[in-house]
């Protein structure tokens, strides 16, 4: 009985069905489907449509990452009262493109003492989980690649894969700095996965579903017509813990032990150059956006927002989601430029001795309030 809960929840429309709806609205879907059916290849059509949705997602992620690298520099510049990149393109917007071109042309160095196979494998393992996290992320009403019924668990599981690539990269480089950085990063990642997972449980208790779409739908509507029904108001402690833990998961200042530029050169990817370095860069910023998106989905109402008459919900919801996510991203960047790095033993102490007990307390209090009927 307990386990069958994993399989409940309605099948919502996703990007795949959205495309079919659009094609049907234009009036070409039946013709296309007929052509494929006459060859007995309906599956191929399905595959093509899924690939189109994935291509859109992939393009979106790449453009977002490029924009985020530009934004990171601009925010840092704003904080430090300077301009940041200004030369390439309007206000330096084309700077990421130039960076990409530069990185493609850079020589690829594999240190003589490194483990070649593992060294080359690590960038793949860094990039693939970073992009996989986006599958159950609801960008807007029915703008989701696949509404997995275990969506939240899937997200936590996939983000927990990142220490593997860090450890592989750090060990394979055969460099003391990378090894130290990798060891620290793993200690940090495992310490902060627990509060992340524990605070997410409190939200799951409220929604009764692990599906991200169900979580967003549970946050629609308002109290007294003013306050939106976001879980940040029901679970303020969980929100703060999740925010801290997710910043630690992203490995950003004040928890950037996988990089710590001033101590460990560039952390675990010190020995990487050229495109392999670029892969780590892509993965890092894709992860930043994904984790911010997850935070928005769980606590800030996802794509919920006031419905505007005359504009399709698909578009308004996408705009709300993007706006909220960029607000969280901006917060993370702002933090990076204003807060010093903490010490590694402080990091573990905060994780194990403050955040986990608080997360457990939050869990118990939430359970008690729901059982007593105060919170629902």
């Amino acid at each position: 009985m307990l386990y069958s809960g994993m399989w409940t929840g309605d099948t919502m429309t996703n990007a795949y069905e959205l495309i079919i709806n659009i094609l049907t609205a234009i009036g070409v879907y039946d013709t296309i489907f007929g052509v494929f059916k006459s060859y007995g290849m309906e599956f191929v059509l399905k595959l093509i449509i899924v690939l189109v949705t994935l291509a859109v997602l992939f393009g979106f992620v790449l453009v977002t990452v490029m924009f985020l690298t530009w934004m990171e520099r601009k925010v840092a510049a704003m904080v430090q009262s300077r301009y940041g990149p200004m030369v390439t393109g309007p206000r330096g917007l084309l700077q990421p493109v130039m960076d990409g071109i530069k990185l493609i042309g850079k020589e690829d160095i594999v240190p003589a003492k490194a483990d070649r196979f593992v060294f080359n494998l690590a960038p793949y393992l860094a990039f693939v989980p970073a992009i996989l996290v986006f599958v159950p992320l609801p960008f807007g009403e029915s703008l989701i690649i696949s509404d997995l019924r275990v969506g939240l668990l899937y997200i936590i599981a996939i983000s927990a894969l990142s220490p593997i690539s860090i450890l592989l990269a750090g060990w394979a480089s055969n460099n003391k700095y990378t090894l130290l950085a990798a060891m620290r990063a793993v200690a940090q990642d495992i310490s902060y996965t627990l509060p992340l997972a524990l605070t997410a449980i409190a939200v799951v208790m409220l929604t009764g579903s692990l599906s991200t779409v169900d979580i967003v739908n549970a946050q629609s509507g308002t109290w007294f017509g003013i306050i939106p029904k976001w879980f940040i108001f029901l679970q303020p402690l969980a929100f703060i813990l999740f925010l801290i833990a997710s910043i630690a998961e992203m490995g950003r200042i004040p928890f950037d032990f996988q990089e710590s530029e001033s101590e460990l050169i560039a952390g675990f990817f010190t020995e990487y150059s050229g495109m392999k370095f670029a892969m780590y860069f892509l993965a890092e910023y894709a992860h930043l956006f994904a984790v911010s998106g997850i935070l928005v989905t769980i606590f800030l109402g996802g794509w919920n927002g006031p419905v505007l008459p005359g504009i399709p919900v698909v578009i308004t919801s996408l705009v709300y989601f993007i706006l909220k996510t960029y607000a969280v991203v901006f917060f993370a960047m702002w933090l990076r430029d204003t807060v010093p790095r903490i010490r590694i033993d402080q990091l573990l102490n905060i994780g194990w001795k403050i955040m986990i007990p608080l997360a457990l307390l939050n869990l118990i209090v939430t359970g008690f309030l729901i059982t007593a009927g105060v919170m629902r």
Binding site: L47, K113, P123, L153, N175, A187, L194
Partner: protein
């Protein structure tokens, strides 16, 4: 219809995994076409702030967090048990809550024990 639905839901995951690997492969291959390759002994040596590297990085050293990882493993499994409970929480009512409270209680005692035994300290 559940197996079919699982297939539909996880097809994008499988495809995206392949696309991700292919994308990285293609970018690395493209860069191999364009980039220069002028390797010297100094360039290929391990980077240690321009000094000649002293010794090997693969030596025995205290990784500090061995105990932390053990505690983490136990907690992670326990948390996994909490997920199905949380999904069904509103249906199982007060009895389910108090049963799980005992479970969480054990978890808290475990954490307190690890804390008391200084398993969570960074410097061992």
């Amino acid at each position: 219809m559940v197996p079919n639905e699982i297939f539909d839901n996880y097809l994008p995951v499988a495809l995206l995994t392949i696309i991700g690997f292919v994308f990285v492969g293609i970018s690395l291959f493209m860069s191999r076409m364009v980039r220069p390759s002028n390797k010297t002994d100094e360039k290929l040596s391990t980077y240690e702030c321009a000094e000649a590297p002293i010794g090997d990085a693969r030596i025995h050293f205290n990784i500090q967090y061995y105990m932390v990882v053990l505690v983490f493993l136990i907690f992670d499994v326990v948390i996994l048990f909490l997920y199905p409970w949380a999904v069904r929480f509103k249906d199982i009512g007060a009895l389910g809550f108090f049963e799980m409270l005992i479970f969480i209680e054990v978890m808290i005692i475990g954490l307190a024990y690890a804390w008391r035994k200084e398993a969570l300290e960074w410097l061992q």
